[in-house]
Amino acid sequence: MADDHNAFITEATIDGDADADGPLADATVAVKDNISTAGIRTTCGSEMLADYVPPYSATVVDRLTDAGATVVGKTNMDEFGMGTTTETSAFGPTRNPADPERVPGGSSGGSAAAVAAGEADVALGSDTGGSVRCPAAFCGVVGIKPTYGLVSRYGLIAYANSLEQIGPIAGTVEEAAAALDVIAGPDPNDGTTRDVSEIDGADPDGSYAAAADGDVDGLTIGIPAELFDGADERVVETVEAAIADLEARGAETAEISLPSVEHAVQAYYVIAMAEASSNLARFDGVRYGHRSESDGNWNESFAETREAFGPEVKRRILLGTYALSAGYHDKYYEKAQDARAWVRQDFDEAFEAVDVIASPTMPVLPFELGESLEDPLRMYLADANTTPVNLANLPAISVPAGEADGLPVGLQLVGPKFGEETVIRAASAVEER
């Protein structure tokens, strides 16, 4: 298999159960390289874990292979999921199959590129602040960020636990939904997973794939001005045209306001960096991962070992440490938690009046390679539309809305908690038009 886009860090096979039948039997699946695969190195796109071989597989990997899917490789990603372009990988950038001079988005850029280039039927990504939806939008494929707690994180190497979910990427809404059917569900190894059948109003026998029926007659779509203001005009026009087509198919639109989301990206970065600074403390070179040839003491040796992190990871560890330190904790971390609660309330209120909320997935077209690497703040601000969803623990999908200047544009549809069927149904109508 030619990997022209540097979508894979490691090409290796885990055979699926040959006796399985179902929509994923005989499917090929690419797995983001922060999701553990027994016996196959799992690098997180980092020098730190370049030789790390997990002794166990993530729950999602076991569920996919049990369903008959064959893992074909581990995909490139921003180091530890920290980035919006897949350029912070220690294994070089991934190229966007839609335009090889442009980034595929991130951080699950290798997963989206593998699907877009036809190198896998389905891929798994992880979404902490948009890392499934952004690359899906930039590469012109479908990506689902599930409700927090729907999919097990066991075996996902943690970056910011309170925000992240593993989610599927595929060429069509139905294929992505079929993968979600397989990976969703409670896991005794992840205490934050929920049994959907115990949640009010859920259909215990429901199928996400079956929800991809294109029926949006009577659906109310909320349009929040805050997530359109400031976006690239070409993106806005493409997204608005897709929404107009949904109206033609019987959906209604309603203007809504989500004032809190103006602060979401800042709140997201404070919380994610704070959690990262704590999570990545585990990389000390003792139990796994790179270890420096230091002859210094304990502290010196750790500090030298951790030189192996790339600049974006160091930046986030340091800013997270700063935001949690005495004197700054209340100013940054506490205010960010207030903002998170405010975002959650805003969405809760909005869903009293609408069924789904639509916006551009990304406010910009795919960056050119190298364009944003030296300007971290610019890269962070590109996550303005995706991060509110993680702060509010909600499900969302990015579906291709069309093209602008020959580049893919993604439409994001956000639903209420555990409302995956609704966003899948609406997204399937977008691709049928």
Partner: protein
């Protein structure tokens, strides 16, 4: 004298962006046990000023009730199969007699 210097500090703190100097970057890096070279310190000093400046927007966020709907998830404490000692040590840079070997303490 001390009154004067305090009021000067306050005025600076209110108006200016939360400037970070190189020593602060080095201090935080030391707390986080991440060694930086001089180039990284210089780059981070600039970037942190911009990033922390954008975080100032959080000052406008109203105090919000946090209705966390959290429940404890409990299970029986039963012995289950886990990693073997060999598996647990398989990625360690240095081991001895079935243990991890860490750096010297002092």
């Amino acid at each position: 004298m001390s009154d004067t210097s305090e009021s000067t500090d306050d005025a600076g703190g209110d108006d200016a962006a939360p400037a970070v100097d190189a020593d602060e970057v080095r201090h935080v890096a030391e707390l986080a046990r991440v060694r930086l070279d001089d180039e990284e310190v210089a780059a981070f000093t600039d970037q942190f000023g911009d990033i922390l400046d954008s975080f100032e927007a959080l000052d406008e966020v109203p105090e919000t009730d946090r209705e966390e709907d959290l429940i404890n998830v409990m299970r029986e404490d039963e012995i289950e199969e886990g990693l073997t000692q060999e598996e647990a040590l398989s990625n360690a840079a240095e081991t001895e007699d079935g243990f991890f070997v860490g750096p010297k303490v002092s």
